[in-house]
Amino acid sequence: MTVLTLVELDGGELADASLRALTLARSIGDVNAVIFADAAPQNTLASYGVTDVYVIESSSLEGYAPQAWARTLAGLAAETGATAVLAAGTDRGNEVLAHLGAITGLPMAANCTLVTPDGGQTHRLVRHRWAGLLLEDAVMDAPVALFTVATDSVANVSAETPAPIQVHLHKPELAESDLLVRAAESPAGAGGASLATARVVVGGGRGVGGPDGFAPLEELAGLLGGVVGVSRVVTSEGWRPHKQQVGQTGTKITPELYLACGISGAIQHIAGCAGAKHIIAINTDPGAPILAHADYAVIGDLHQVIPALIQALRAR
């Protein structure tokens, strides 16, 4: 069974979310990858068990055009006889697979954590509802199963035996209408590490007290090689920009460490940080819900604990 997987790049490397999608794809069948780039990171793809990669060069399609990407996947799915087409559950992955579902008339299941072929045209799957606060057991009946992979719930594991990989340069057949909507890209601001892929996230909530209270969190994040994330109340109060929000309606994070400071832990926030490997809460309230999701807690005022922690780290 051939499983066609759309993979994305992040800063020249295969995106972590795509590696997770490849890990799930490998459990279903023979993995063929599709990449929209001038060159494929062949070694990484091979180490995740990809046997064939289809490279769509910028000479045939420059820039991101979701419908054109979906049309390309539809063509390749037919050509390879794929029984499933998947992508990482990123903004682009979900968008392209939604287009593919609309183009083909097939159902699409977003943010799956497990997919198992069950004979014939049936797949059994588990997918996120409520951004992962609930799981849905579902059955998909379709000649080609379309789905995306919940990037904060599936581990990133390379294959035990890397496959020899074949590279195919592919020119998709596109209609003009497929290219009508396309991204004009411009670098945004100073950039810096992205919240979604940061190794350490220092989170600030209502306990920070106001827009002026974030400097120590920024300093701590800098010392730990991480970034600052915030809870929903912080963005709805206008203390920090929405792009720093961790949660169901913000960004889902997968750091090694999430240090949640002055965050009570509403369920929508937990949906955003449950993919963290380790969580430490700093909170004045020993009964705060966040403590039920954390490994360790410090009971106290973040305005005392964080400066002391900064001092201790500087003294090391």
Binding site: A102, L224, G250
Partner: protein, 250 residues
């Protein structure tokens, strides 16, 4: 500018989420309902556009009779007309939902349809895109900044640290995300007007889809109640030891 905003009634979940004993729904005995967050921002965005450029805002939901409450919520925020696509309690899949909305759009001269990027409950991430394909209209998703100009819209979002801008001719479908604006609180006159406003009703046809829900469940948690390292700044040495053990400090 004639704008249609599609919203969804979802349970308001706070500290905890639970499933009914038959595993088919979220247990709402102890919760209220609200407009899914991205869609509340879609209503606000539509109202702001018509405040600047004129026109009117219609708001639509597909759901049970009780979803009229969320339509009135949107009317209180400044929407002008409300349409309820009333269901018999069965959950509509994304394909049937998009088809039912498309029927409404074909019957009215809308310039722009706004939806949330994904509903808070089902998280299907596709109704807006399927609607656009049904209509043959262009679509942009996950939008956090929208400007109207020269018979079109420019829709912006951020991806991996870079800003993406999409130029769409009208009519078009745009799905938005929280953060595009801060929704206003409904005014008292707004709430009074909403209470009296008529709600148009029709009953769309339910259809089976290839993706079928079997059951919902709460995922097993890998975490237990946190171990308390100590109180205040005195806990910092233990905290640093834990970070060292985890290899976070390099």
């Amino acid at each position: 500018m004639e704008i249609l905003v599609c919203i969804k009634r979802v349970p308001t979940v706070g500290g905890k989420i639970a499933v009914t004993p038959d595993g088919q729904e979220v247990d709402t005995r102890a919760s209220g309902f609200s407009i899914s967050p991205h869609e509340e921002c879609a209503v606000e965005e539509a109202v702001q556009i018509t405040e600047r450029a004129g026109g009117s805002v219609s708001v639509l939901t597909l759901g049970p009779e009780a979803a009229a409450e969320q339509l009135r919520g949107a009317l209180a925020l400044g929407a002008h007309r409300a349409v309820l696509l009333e269901t018999d309690g069965r959950e509509f899949g994304p394909i049937a939902t998009a088809a039912a909305i498309a029927d409404q759009v074909r019957a009215h001269p809308y310039d722009l349809v706004l939806l949330g990027n994904e509903a808070a409950d089902t998280g299907d991430y596709q109704v807006g895109v399927r609607l656009a394909h049904e209509l043959g209209w262009p679509v942009a998703t996950g939008i956090k900044n929208l400007t109207v100009a020269d018979g079109g819209v420019v829709a912006r979002r951020e991806y991996r640290g870079a800003e993406e801008a999409y130029s769409l001719p009208l009519p078009a479908v745009v799905t938005v995300k929280e953060g595009i604006n801060l929704p206003r609180y409904p005014s008292l006159p707004g709430r009074l007007r909403a209470k009296r406003a008529p709600v148009d009703r029709t009953s769309p046809e339910w259809a089976a889809e290839g993706l079928r829900k079997q059951a919902l469940r709460v995922p097993p948690s890998s975490k237990h109640q946190a171990e308390v390292l100590g109180e205040g700044a005195e806990a910092v040495p233990s905290l640093v030891r834990v970070l060292e053990e985890w290899g976070v400090l390099s």
